[in-house]
């Protein structure tokens, strides 16, 4: 009964949704963020029931096309699609099929011919979901494309689940973007290489949060200043970003960065930018920490902090990921 009620609410919500693909959060509007959060809230309820399935996407095919290997994001999408009763295909192209003269468009075209409805794409290079969506549109298809992370460009579902997690921490009964207005959020770490940070910049500033970025100059070029007109504040030291911050989002630091002369050592990075309990003392007393995973324990965040059930929102991020992805699959593919 409750499920039926929840779905009734969803019907009205989804009628205000017109976006075909979710490739970037750049042009997301505040009403769209509101719809995603409201829909995700309903699915969060669904996921707590004994029967976690709703029939919304029954008979629809969701293809997870993960050119870049990923266990968590793919599992999250798979669970989300299955909870909506969709048929799910997971495809991780072997590097060989793509070196044998197959272009990046061919695999998507193959699934198009098999009748897929929703295509979830992750690729290690920026822009691949964009060009595949353009190709499918050119072919006149109605397939919806969801970017599950492309290179350093965008990771919109992570941006949305982070937004949900932040808003949920402020008001679990009704998480909505307006809650973040005037709230200080610090993003600390390898922002240059982070698609997560690029998505979060858009969702946080659209919600009215006060966004502070902190990283060594090599990982936070000044171009980020012009990235988004409203309210990004850049720091090349961590303390001014952390001071009185209600939320701190830290990012994974890839070990390869040392070879590119971006940092002297992981030790130096942890010393200057790693999150520790000690360092968080200058934050808001209620501060909470997020990380998109996978974590380099002891580099961007200390192990004990990561596992702290009060300070760390990392497990909630993972849980909310399924509800938010259900919301997006539903909004893109379940509206008819």
């Amino acid at each position: 009964m409750i499920i039926v009620k929840a779905l009734g609410l969803l019907k009205t919500v989804s009628s205000s949704w017109s976006r075909k693909h979710v490739l970037s959060l750049k042009d997301f509007t505040l009403p769209e963020y509101e719809v995603v959060l409201k829909t995700a809230t309903s699915f969060r309820e669904v996921l707590t029931r004994r029967n976690r399935k709703v029939p919304t996407l029954q008979g629809k095919i969701v293809v997870n096309l993960f050119f870049e290997p990923s266990t968590r994001t793919r599992s999250s999408f798979e669970l989300a699609a299955k909870a909506l009763s969709a048929d799910v295909l997971n495809f991780t192209p072997s590097s060989s099929s793509l070196t044998k003269g197959e272009t990046i468009l061919d695999t998507a075209r193959t699934y198009l011919a098999m009748g897929m409805d929703l295509l979830v794409i992750r690729h290690q290079e920026s822009g691949v979901p964009t060009i595949i969506s353009q190709d499918l549109d050119r072919l006149g298809s109605d397939v919806r494309v969801l970017n599950a992370g492309d290179g350093r460009h965008q990771h919109p579902t992570q941006g949305l689940l982070d937004l949900f997690t932040l808003c949920n921490a402020l008001d679990p009964t009704n998480p909505r973007p307006g809650l973040l207005k005037g709230i200080k959020v610090a993003i600390v770490g390898d922002i240059l290489h982070s698609r997560v940070a690029r998505s979060n910049l858009y969702s946080l500033s659209a919600s009215g949060a006060e966004v502070h970025l902190a990283a060594p100059p090599t990982l936070l070029p000044l171009y980020f200043q012009e990235f988004k007109e409203h309210g990004l504040i850049l720091h090349h030291r961590v303390e001014p970003a952390l001071e009185k911050a209600r939320f701190v989002m830290t990012l994974r630091l890839q070990k390869e960065r040392m070879g590119e002369f971006l940092l002297p050592s992981l030790r130096a990075y942890h010393r200057d930018f790693g999150l520790t309990r000690e360092r968080l003392k200058i934050c808001d007393p209620e501060v909470q920490v997020l990380h998109p995973g996978p974590v380099n324990r002891g580099v961007e965040i200390s192990s004990d902090l990561m596992d702290d059930p009060v300070l760390s929102l990392i497990p909630q991020q993972v849980t909310h990921g399924v509800a938010v992805r259900m919301a997006l699959l539903y909004l893109l593919g379940g509206g008819d």
Binding site: I104, I131, Q134, Y223
Partner: protein, 394 residues
Amino acid sequence: MDREPVQVRWLDPSQGINQEVEVNLGTHLQVIQELPIGSTQKVLLPGLVDLYSHSGEPGHEERETLESLMRGARAGGFVEVAILPDTEPVIDDPSLVSWLKKQAPNLHILASLTVGNQGKELVDTEELLRAGAIGFTAEDALKDLTLTRRFLEYLGPNAAPVLLWPQHPSLAKGVAREGVWSTELGLIGVPVQAETIAVSTILDLVELTGTPVHLMRLSCQESVERIRVAKAKGLPITCSVAAGHLLHTVEELVSFDPNLRVNPPFGTHEDQAALLAGLADGTVDVISTDHSPWTYEEKVVPFAVAPPGMVMLELALPLLWTHLVKTQKLKALDLVRALTTGPRKVLGLPASDSWVLFNPETTWTANSQTLHSLSQATPWWGKTLQGCIEQTSF
């Protein structure tokens, strides 16, 4: 050949001609009468010359053969084309040069500065010139400055044109102009300094050796400014811009179209304006097509993985006319100069009485029916273009 008289706007920068006339087209143009300004639609101009294009042949005939290259060139109004040595094998050998010269009389050969383009041993310049090479070029002139210096010294000031690409290899390990757009799109940036450091270095080498150099593929405002100053000082240099840089800017990369991946990467509107101002005041001498054919499989890959370059020989005149002359960003005579007398001067080619009849109003679609190139590597593929080459004397 059409013997009917035609009414045209006649542009010939070698004689400073820019007037509307009724003319008899033939091997020699015969002007019948002058016409009032604004009374004609078609344009008559000398056959175009391309300062540098990439050929697929030898080695990559699947990209472009010499035959398809020259057919495309002719269709695009180019009467003569110089090709770059980055074929397989590299053009560093006199027998290859004479074989290439035999394939097409209107083909000019730019030979590599070093054996195998390896940057280790100098080629035998004398023998290559005797075999018919028109000049020498290197894309990695900054890798070993002693080598480049010695080459310029050995060749001397009056032997043959030398075309160098100002790009600092270790600063240029990216795919998009560094700035807000590369940051937003998550593409690795190349700072303008990858070019300007190289421009200054090459200018210093010209000063050191006294050998004239042509600087290829300028892409930023600062380069134009440095070259303007150096030319005013009397340094024997010329320079060029690739046509694509006058048509595209970095923010178009938001489409992630791999056909927009070029090297050097596209700059900003300010860079484009500076390059156009350079063409207008004579700082920039030449617009080259930098025609770069790639197969569909090679080019339809993620943006950052795509090989750089686009096909341009058949598109250059229609696109440049539509987007620069019609929009009054560049005067018609300046455009034609950069495509005719400009490259002729750099390559030391005599004037020719070839002509091209161009109708700027005709529309057509770029596709496999209309284009002769074997490659589809252009962001204009499938799009409607304005301006069509109707007839040529060659």
